[in-house]
Symmetry: C2
């Protein structure tokens, strides 16, 4: 049999397990030109919450009563496609199914001798590429500048910070536990960290941790932490709006202080960043990330949850900050 | 005697005449290397409100009990500086004084045979340059795109819209009276206009006037009109945050809907624009504006208030929308 995870309802506010449904179905068979793929690793990511809403966005919404999908590393079990052979590993956006068939379109082969398979969902996958290209296309870091990162212990944030250090910047991270803050400094080379959960005045703590102000803010969370970053932003500052996890489960329109005055006074650039806009730059980005990885300049962390059935719970745990680094399910 | 206008108090909220003080002083004399200038035209601009606050900004705050200053066209009455002769007209940031002496530093000569003197404070001055460079550096208009402009009947907005038409765009303006809306279409070649004062749903009116969405929004006002523009913004939209007159007199921190979600979903760029950041580009901008003016492609409007003493009132009237086009005082 074949396990498949469906979206049962569009979540209202914070998603719960009852929004998902695990079904057992027939295992499919590869027809001519197709491959049968067994899911090995699944990526769960905050942006998937956006796809659960029925609103226009940069990517099509999920449909109710259809299987979900995300970045997946799979193993080719049967191949009736000359481009793939049995035992190959592939990477792509695939359904949340234990087994599925594919024409191979949109799939890339990955070599587990280059790096562990799961890293192709993280540091060498969209996560690492997001960090790299967000900084490259919008951040445009200069030596000696101050880079502030939120969600700093997360998959993207921890790589953003390390790239900042490679580029010669002062790097300050914001995360949600003292353990994470310790890790930022001990493992990821950050200069300073702020625990937003225990901070009594996040604006003031940002100011203190960034005595020369903030030149580039890589935002994974939005909301009040964005406000705090803008309160310390320097003239010609750049804000990479990469994520807004603090707002993803909001049911009303979130409000906050207006920022247009700050943008004008400080000639600040804020720009929404979606890695899919830069597909043509993926190759060079992966090459650079791979080189840094082999030179020992990039560390990465994964939280690996065992069991295909636990994929929805792993997704929910993202919003509780239970992951350290990239959240991955080992099927 | 010599009339001089001082800042008496920092205004709280909307400024009033009592925040200014007209004093009579000795008329100064030019010493060696100096010129004596008689003020001919004064520019009053919304951004001056920001200089009345005692806060860090892109330009030094005015000091209480000192004369104000702004863009001024003056006539050289006496010259003891070999670079100027009596009868020359000069343009620069000068004090609100009927007569003043200057070393000539920072002053440019203007030729009243090229264009009327007052136009060097408007379409050929910082106003026109702001419109031109805001669009050039951030807007990056493409043929066939939709350009939305707020403060559209104002000094900057009316030029922004006309440049949009020169660039082959659909241009929609937002202004505060039916007379202004009529003028946008009749005199400035706009495709459509929205009267925000009589609109019952500005978001819906923007949507209707921009059936293909908004590609570039040139924002002179901030606040709820910015929100409405972002509700219709297209993928890869650009917002030029040039002014926020709706917020300038606020005494509390203005709040509104958070925009980071929209920026991410639509890969939108928002950037604060201050013309002083681009001084090296002023020359080419003025040249292009002058060429369009002579080709009859640019119309401009001025509201000229007579009498040096009326400068504070002219400034206050900006916030009531009493100006059409550039607000200027003829001393």
């Amino acid at each position: 049999m074949n396990k498949v995870i469906y979206l049962r309802n569009r979540p209202a506010g914070m998603p719960s397990l009852s929004d998902f449904e695990l079904k057992e179905e027939e295992k499919p068979k590869a027809e001519d030109g197709e491959i049968l793929i067994k899911t090995e690793y699944l990526s769960v990511d905050p942006y998937l919450r956006g796809r659960m809403r029925n609103v226009e966005s940069y990517i099509e919404p999920f449909k109710v009563n259809e299987p979900l999908e995300s970045g997946i590393i799979g193993k080719v079990i049967t191949s009736k496609n000359i481009n793939f052979k049995e035992g190959d590993y592939v990477n792509g956006i695939l359904k949340w199914k234990e087994y599925q068939v594919s024409s191979g379109a949109g799939l890339n082969k990955v070599d587990k001798n280059i790096a562990p398979l799961s890293s192709f969902l993280g540091v060498l996958g969209l996560t690492g590429i997001t960090a790299y290209l967000g900084l490259d296309k919008i951040g445009k870091l200069k030596v000696g500048e101050t880079l502030l990162v939120s969600g700093a212990a997360g998959a993207v944030g921890s790589i953003v910070g390390q790239i900042g250090k490679i580029k010669g910047c002062r790097v300050v991270g914001i995360a949600g536990s003292d353990e994470k803050i310790h890790k930022l400094k001990a493992d990821f080379n950050f200069d300073a960290g702020i625990n937003y959960k225990t901070s009594s005045d996040i604006e003031d703590d940002v100011k203190k941790a960034c005595p020369n102000g903030v030149d580039v803010y890589f935002d994974n969370v939005g909301g009040e932490i964005l406000d705090a970053a803008l309160a310390s932003i320097n003239k010609f500052g750049r804000v990479i709006n990469c994520g807004a996890i603090s707002l993803y489960n909001a049911t009303d329109v979130p409000t906050g202080p207006r920022h247009e005055g700050t943008l004008i006074k400080k000639s600040v650039l804020m720009q929404g960043f979606t890695v899919r806009d830069y597909v043509k730059d993926f190759g060079p980005a992966m090459k650079q990330l791979g080189a840094w990885l082999h030179e020992g300049k990039l560390q990465y962390e994964e939280t690996v949850v065992a069991g295909f059935d636990n994929t929805p719970q792993a997704f929910l745990d993202l919003f509780k900050g239970k992951n350290k680094g990239k959240m991955i399910v080992k099927a």
